[in-house]
Symmetry: C2
Subunit: 339 residues, 2 copies
DNA sequence: TATTTTTACGCAAACGTTTGCGTAAAAATA
DNA sequence: TATTTTTACGCAAACGTTTGCGTAAAAATA
């Protein structure tokens, strides 16, 4: 078990002061060219790597950013993490990931943890449960840069990266109508989330713009966004006297639940019921029929969020900004034209 | 932007020495009961949180473990990360995740990065490309505890957590035979990986035990484990004069590729071709027909790997140990009995 | 009560960096 | 060549903890 070599080791070997070694290695002025080269060569030879704890202690900025995500096991979030991570690394930052498991209480713990590590900034996506934002306000009040993505809040004080939720839902419904569907149902999620509210509005507006009535019993609202909920919502919708001929589910996992329940009733997709979900690229092609989905550029969401955060870190005066990453409707078999 | 309060702040406020505060807060002896309580109360009131950089600097063990995984966007790995993370947290450790993106060169960088952070130990899964283990040997030689999972190496020097690969493949083939399939093909992966080699052996042994011939043209070997490869392998298999009536794909993403290609040829699963894949729970239920798969207890793999690592960290004399986490064959529609 | 032991604290050094300041030596200028 | 400026280094303090050691005061023992 060989100890890590320190600046002192190099200094001792070369008969110079540690401060000189530090300056040479960090490219600061005040050290002669020849000596600088000698120091660098020795550092390389001894495989010197700065001790991040010492650096973190002496500098007020240890170049770490924190992430708070609802869960890590869905492709949507892990792909966003990839985007954040790559951008962070490219700018000399490392990343610490915490998970709220969609729970408000755990989300608060995440903030504490990140705070303890002294992260320079935080990128967060709200948990499903979260409808009170005080814990995030505290972060902002402490001057810690904070950027939200997808499920956002405090947009007047924090930058955010969001999908064009209203438009995407509008477009999905428009597509269903164009393909001959007339009684289009909606399966929503926790209403306090911006994404839910916005997608709902897009759904309603699309119906209205096409002179279709908005039936409240075709809208299943304010449920947890789980596979189970998706199935339950469909049971509820199919129990109606006049059942829907298409469904917009505002979340991928809801859509998969819905699809499964529809199939178990021996109804055909897309002939009996058309189905549109939200998803990133991966899952939706595996199901049958392949699912028409609103698709996110997840990697880009991550990298843009990280960009915004780094900009804010480097300049506290930048104004909060909301970046919209356009989604696109990926049309597949589950909404094939009727007749 | 209020500064973090330090031990010194507390000491100053209470008129005691910083060392006393430290001892009181860490539960060490040598501080009176009354004073200890006063210090604790003040720490709570001022919301004192120890500076991890200072602690990391002064202690040789900053209680961080590192993870190296091939990618973060598949459920298999992110679920394992959950298992590791929860176990680590429960033991007062935090976790840093690095990604090799299935590339040997990047895997080496991961090790460097983790080394720089001075992690106390590393949990790793080999990248597809990796067939040379020197970089890991160096880690071991430096005395850094190292545990592998799933795709492993250096098992004589490092503990590992693996699936029962040989048995699982055997069982899958056995199941196919029992259901009337006779010409069973095999789609493998990069041969230097232990999981590939072992699953291949299980496949061969099951055929032999059932007195079925082992045809080498029914075995597609040594390909990258990607969706594309899955499709390509099936194209190759279906081009044979006598095509297979069942396929064992040794990886989930290969299986999905295979399924997609089979369907595009208008062949029926399971009637024309039976299909078994490897997967964790999530994806396989979404496809149609639902895929019979060898299923892993991913969360458990993670938590056991973390346990092994922590045990090794706390006692350098523990012997390397290989823990096998049993898989189970989840039988679904894709291998329904013929006739 | 006199001595020994224990308790309860503080002092100071250490972990590995960075950085402000000081100062010989070298270079530039007069 | 004499003076001023610049260069090239070293010293020492600092970041926020922990911990070995020392020592008064208190408690226990003789």
């Amino acid at each position: 078990m060989d100890k890590h070599v320190s600046i002192k080791d190099i200094a001792l070997k070369l008969g110079v002061a540690p401060s000189t070694v530090s300056r040479a290695l960090n490219g600061n002025s005040g050290v002669g060219k020849a000596l600088r080269e000698k120091i660098k060569a020795m550092a390389l030879k001894l495989n010197y790597k700065p001790n991040p704890f010492a650096v973190g202690l002496v500098k007020q900025t240890p170049h770490i950013i924190g992430i708070i995500i609802p869960d890590i096991v869905t492709h949507f979030y892990s792909s966003i993490i990839s985007g954040i991570g790559d951008t962070a690394r490219a700018n000399g930052y490392s990343v610490v990931i915490t998970t709220s498991y969609e729970q408000y209480e755990l989300e608060k713990h995440c903030i504490d943890d990140l705070n303890n590590i002294r992260v320079e900034g935080i990128i967060a996506c709200l948990s499903q449960e979260t409808s009170d934002y005080k814990h995030f306000e505290n972060v902002v009040n402490q001057g810690v840069p904070l950027v939200f993505f997808d499920r956002v809040c405090l947009t007047d004080r924090c930058s955010s990266v969001v999908a064009d939720n209203e438009r995407s839902a509008y477009q999905a419904v428009q597509h269903l109508i164009a393909n001959g569907y007339k009684r289009i149902a909606y399966i929503g999620g926790n209403e306090h989330l911006n994404i839910v509210d916005q997608r709902r509005r897009g759904y309603v507006r699309a119906l209205a713009d096409n002179c279709l009535p908005v039936y409240s019993d075709l809208m299943v609202d304010n449920l947890p966004m789980t596979y189970k909920s998706g199935r339950k919502a469909v049971r509820q919708l199919l129990a109606l006297r006049r059942r829907p001929d298409a469904i917009l589910a505002i979340n991928d996992i809801l859509a998969f639940g819905a699809m499964s329940e529809i199939k178990s009733r021996n109804l055909q997709i897309p002939t009996d019921i058309g189905l549109v979900g939200y998803s990133d690229e991966l899952h939706a092609t595996f199901v049958e029929p392949a699912l028409t989905t609103v698709t996110h550029h997840t990697y880009e969401i991550g990298s843009v969020a990280c960009d915004l955060l780094l900009r804010r870190i480097n300049d506290a005066t930048v104004k909060p900004k909301s970046v919209v990453i356009p989604t696109f409707l990926k049309i597949r078999a589950s909404t094939a034209k009727r007749r």
